[in-house]
């Protein structure tokens, strides 16, 4: 409920007395934004923990696997090539979102297709993700090089992860995918625990490892693709949320899966509050803020892993 414009905790009495101006700010801006923060954070948290679980790599996340970069390329393609903001026929946000979404799914498709030839070896998939992400990044720069200034600034603006970008319908779509996914993965948490013992042990417990990997990658990528398509690139939440949970409650996926969703939601909500208030009245896109904090944390995790 906290923000840069006009409402703080002292105004709680106005909330109780249904003050009209405050209710509009709350209902039209703060609540949808907080809801978006929780859902996007939760989706990225789940996406991260599932990718890390099936790829058995603590550095896996939508961001490190290139899904986010692919989304940015899709959006740039819509803005620069399809001229989505100049189109008279189609809603510009809709077209940009669709393109970002399709590009994210293409990225996932390439990773999975590549995985087929490497028998889904986890380390190969991570490296494939990094390479594909870099290719999409180069593609985005290529498009920007030939675009005019207005389109370039529109593309760059789009890539800022910003929770104000989407509206309530986007949050609802995300919720419809997120909640069944949390339930689905929670019910098969033990398969992720079994994978920690090694592929052979997992297969000997009756788990089809390749099928699990495909289902998990598709669903988690769908979640992050939706988040990127609706709200832009919000890095590091998917990477960091599961690590924080593991530090607090251990490694069993019975706890790590649901709590990563919750910690992702809390992290993004917290980051958004800070992003909205730190330079008040200026609102910094939360994606910039999460990367500022996430990158050093990422380096810290890397250094711990190296020890």
């Amino acid at each position: 409920m906290i923000g840069s414009n006009g409402i703080d905790f002292n105004d709680i009495s106005k909330l109780v007395s249904f003050d009209e101006r405050f209710m509009i700010i709350l209902e039209e801006i703060r609540l949808p934004r907080s809801l978006a923060a929780c859902l996007v954070g939760g989706a990225l948290g789940l996406s991260g923990v599932i990718m890390q679980g099936v790829l058995k790599n603590p550095l896996a996340s939508p961001f490190t696997l290139g899904v986010s970069q692919a989304g940015a390329f899709g959006a740039s393609f819509a803005i620069i090539v399809l001229q989505s903001y100049n189109s008279a026929f189609i809603n510009s946000t809709f077209l940009t979102t669709i393109c970002a979404f399709v590009a994210s799914l293409i990225c996932v498709g390439i990773i999975l297709y590549f995985g087929k030839f490497t028998a889904m070896r986890a380390e190969s998939l991570i490296l494939a993700g990094v390479a594909i992400g870099a290719t999409f990044g180069a593609g985005t720069m290529f498009l920007q090089y030939f675009a005019d200034e207005v389109d370039v600034s529109a593309t760059i603006f789009w890539t800022f992860g910003d929770l104000a970008k989407g509206d309530i319908s986007h949050s609802l779509i995300l919720a419809v995918v997120l909640f069944p996914s949390v339930w689905f993965f929670y019910r098969i948490f033990w398969k992720f625990d079994a994978l920690m013992l090694g592929n052979e042990s997992a297969v000997n417990l009756g788990i089809s490892v390749v099928r699990l990997r495909i289902v998990a990658m598709v669903v988690s990528s769908l979640l992050s693709a939706l988040a990127v398509a609706f709200f832009g690139i919000i890095g590091f939440i998917g990477l960091i949320a599961p690590h924080i949970v593991r530090l607090l409650v251990g490694h069993s996926h019975k706890y790590v899966i649901p709590l990563s969703v919750i910690s992702g939601a809390i992290l993004l909500l917290g980051a958004d509050i800070v992003a909205r208030t730190i330079l008040s009245p200026l609102v910094v896109p939360v994606g910039i803020f999460t990367s500022f904090i996430g990158a050093p944390l990422f380096l810290y995790l890397l250094s711990r892993r190296a020890k």
Partner: protein
């Protein structure tokens, strides 16, 4: 129960790892696979557990388990791999995994009964809440063995269960395996490198060389020449009051003496 392996072959990346292996073993006996590194011992176990694709027939009595689905296999064959990852799960969480092929997410009363039974048998009570990565090598092997038994298999496959363990722990693990094989009437196959233990605890030995079954014999019939042929080194078995002692000599090649073993 009998377990018959017929015409088993396994090829990995166009390389034949094991070729046309045939043998029949009985339940309640400890069968030990010996052979040099790369002979195909682990692959044999993985093929039986269907962790590794292979061609062949596996008859458990008259039932071909090669036609079982992956989840039925998990309830019939339990494999303890050679390399177990060091995981940050509690002992209890590991043991519960053994019952997941039966009950999935929600474990039932009978699942916990089975877990408690094995925990008691292997004296794991005091470890239950400890994290696996805080246990010693011997304790960890015991937990993985317990998990394999909790799967309640008919066929128990152990790939080098005593590697890197001290003599006391080696003895403890093999005694548990021997006793439980008899008590539960299991079909047990264990891969071992320690010939002394193999001859002491095993009922039958399977000699694997270059992917082929060189010999399948009861322990008391094993001769020094069999081991020499298997490992290409000088070897002598002494028998004293029912115990076997193995002395490994110098290894000779065409170039002369290149080293010696124990």
């Amino acid at each position: 129960m009998t377990f018959e392996v017929k015409n088993l072959s396994c090829t990995i990346e166009n390389k034949t790892i094991i070729e046309d292996i045939n043998f029949t073993i009985r339940s309640g006996e400890l069968n030990i696979v010996i052979g040099a590194n790369g002979a195909g011992k682990s692959t044999l176990l993985k093929a039986i557990a269907r962790v590794q694709e292979s061609k062949g027939i596996f008859l458990l009595d008259d039932d071909n388990i090669a036609s079982y689905g992956i989840s039925k296999i998990a309830k019939t064959v339990s494999l303890m791999p050679q390399f177990n990852n060091n995981v940050h799960l509690s002992v209890k969480e590991i043991l519960e995994l053994g019952r997941r092929p039966y009950s999935g997410f929600t474990l039932l009363k009978e699942d916990y009964e089975m877990i408690n039974l094995i925990v008691e048998e292997l004296e794991l009570d005091r470890f239950l809440d400890r994290s696996m990565n805080t246990l010693s090598g011997g304790e960890r092997q015991k937990v993985y063995l317990a998990k394999s038994l909790i799967q309640n298999p008919k066929i128990l496959l152990l790939d080098e269960p005593i590697a890197h363990l001290d003599p006391k722990n080696q003895q403890e693990i093999l005694e548990i395996v021997k006793n439980i094989t008899i008590k539960k009437n299991l079909i047990t196959i264990v891969v071992l490198h320690d010939l002394q233990s193999a001859l002491h605890y095993g009922d039958n030995l399977l000699f694997l060389k270059n992917g082929k079954l060189l010999k399948h014999s009861v322990v008391k019939d094993i001769k020094s020449e069999d081991l020499e042929e298997l490992y290409d080194i000088k070897c002598k078995i002494f028998k004293n009051e029912g115990h076997h002692f193995v002395l490994m000599g110098h290894r000779h090649t065409n170039d002369g003496e290149v080293g010696h073993n124990h």
